[in-house]
């Protein structure tokens, strides 16, 4: 099908964008990379009357590294993948980005767009939750920073209001001895995932786990932190038994949804395997052994 008619409004600054969103409210949608929004418009699942095109806002394309990593909302996924700052400050993000869509969608798709879209099977939200990132949201009351975990609220629902704009994503500096891992499963390579796990392990010089972060995608309406699993790893040596036990904890309480792509039971079982795999990768990378 083809999209319903709309007015296309290009804006050059964040202030202009906010003005448009305030004026048109629920009738307006923000156009960033379009790789998630335009498919919905082509199906007529969404029919905005006004598209606020923020592509010309160059200040949103910045990548800054000043201790923490700051990505402007309009940073293209391809640019983030190529960025030396992303690779050195948040290598988990670079790894995850390789799994996001395809070269042709990464050329246009943006970091901020994926964040604002909040698809439960998207990779970036889960990675940003694992990285304990903050999402900068700007509205009429100025800018506020929302922790990623509270930003993603439900399927396609975030803490950003209709009249607000996601402007930046802040990834704090990682602890020095940190291993990361990412594993996901999708029926067709880089197509929409069924489930996935992003893991970070802080490992001390005795190869003991200081802290763990495990974020899951595809198992709920939003990314899930596996708190029990994380706690089970704290202070433990990272042998096979510890990782397997953590994976069991991660899957244990899950009640994933069933849909045409996978049953809830399958998602839970495969989540356990993916956590195990991602933890093993993180342990190897962080020098934790086995």
């Amino acid at each position: 099908m083809k999209p319903a008619p709309f007015h296309h409004v290009e804006v050059a600054t964040v202030e202009e964008a906010l003005g448009q969103l305030r004026e048109h409210g629920a009738h307006a949608r923000v156009l960033a990379g379009g790789q998630s929004l335009v498919p919905l418009m082509n199906l007529r699942s969404v029919r905005p009357r006004v598209l606020v095109d923020i592509n010309p806002i160059s200040e949103l394309e910045r990548i800054d590294a000043d201790g923490s990593l700051e990505l402007g909302a309009m940073v293209r996924q391809a640019a983030a993948l190529r960025s030396a700052e992303v690779r050195s400050l948040a290598p988990l993000l670079a790894d995850v980005l390789r799994q996001v869509g395809y070269p042709a969608t990464r050329a246009r798709g943006t970091i901020g767009g994926s964040v604002a879209h909040a698809d439960p099977v998207a990779e970036l939200p889960a990675a940003l939750v694992a990285l304990e990132s903050e999402i900068a949201v700007q509205g009429s009351h100025g800018e506020r920073l929302v922790p990623a975990e509270s930003f993603f609220q439900a399927r396609f629902e975030t803490a950003a209001g209709d009249d607000e704009l996601v402007t930046r994503i802040r990834v704090p500096r990682l602890p020095r001895r940190c291993g990361w891992g990412f594993a996901e499963i999708a029926p067709r390579g880089h197509d929409f995932a069924i489930a996935g796990a992003a893991c970070l392990l802080e490992i001390d010089s005795d190869r003991v786990c200081r802290s763990a972060r495990i974020a899951l995608l595809g198992v709920a309406e939003r990314p899930v932190r596996a708190a029990d699993a994380e706690a089970s790893l704290q202070g433990r040596g990272l042998d096979g038994a510890a990782l397997s036990e953590a994976a069991r904890h991660a899957a244990g309480d899950l009640e994933p949804p069933s849909d045409v792509h996978a049953s809830g039971r399958y998602r839970r079982e495969v989540a356990e395997a993916l956590v195990r795999r991602a933890l093993a990768e993180a342990a190897r990378r962080g020098g934790g052994g086995s």
Binding site: P5, G25, G34, N42, N55, P103
Partner: protein
């Protein structure tokens, strides 16, 4: 506070000027006209294929400033001033096939040909960036293009062979 809906004012058509295959082109587009449809209908570049309009099949892939993009996920009005390449730009003025096209022909990289423009342009962008790709890299880069006919082996062979041929040529025209 209720939002003001722009009722009674229809979105205006605009003139879109851009460069396609090195040539300056222009056409009319209302905002909702997809770039894929603009290229096909306004500019008569019917080598741009329309498959899923969801961005997953890759048939509509064109090059924007050298990078592969989904023309079905962009609006024509966004492409003002852009430099695009479509499959029509690959062959020479005299119709001579370019090395990639020749390779697809030689290695049975196509049957019905519907997906072929998307594959050719994606492969072209790959070889520009990575002149000597491994088979895995080729498969990875083409993962976003769906083919219903060939089973992909001929396509991978064709791209690998073209890469080798271009590599051997080392920039000069000539040879086999």
């Amino acid at each position: 506070m209720s939002a003001r809906e722009p009722i009674g004012r229809e979105p205006e058509e605009v003139l879109v000027r851009l460069t396609v295959n090195g040539e300056e082109r222009r056409g009319i587009a209302e905002p909702r006209l997809l770039l894929s449809d603009f290229l096909r209908q306004e500019l008569r570049l019917t080598g741009v294929q329309v498959g899923c309009e969801q961005g997953v099949c890759g048939a509509c892939t064109v090059l924007l400033d050298g990078e592969p993009i989904r023309s079905c996920l962009m609006f024509a009005v966004q492409a003002r001033g852009a430099e695009l390449e479509t499959v029509e730009g690959l062959a020479g003025e005299d119709g001579a096939l370019d090395p990639l096209q020749r390779s697809f022909q030689e290695h049975h990289g196509l049957q019905c040909g519907f997906c072929t423009p998307g594959f050719l342009l994606t492969a072209r962008a790959l070889l520009e960036e990575t002149p000597d790709p491994s088979r895995e890299q080729i498969a990875e880069s083409l993962a976003g293009n769906v083919c219903r006919c060939t089973g992909y082996v001929g396509i991978l062979d064709a791209v690998a062979s073209a890469a080798a041929a271009l590599h051997d040529e080392g920039g000069s025209q000539g040879g086999t």
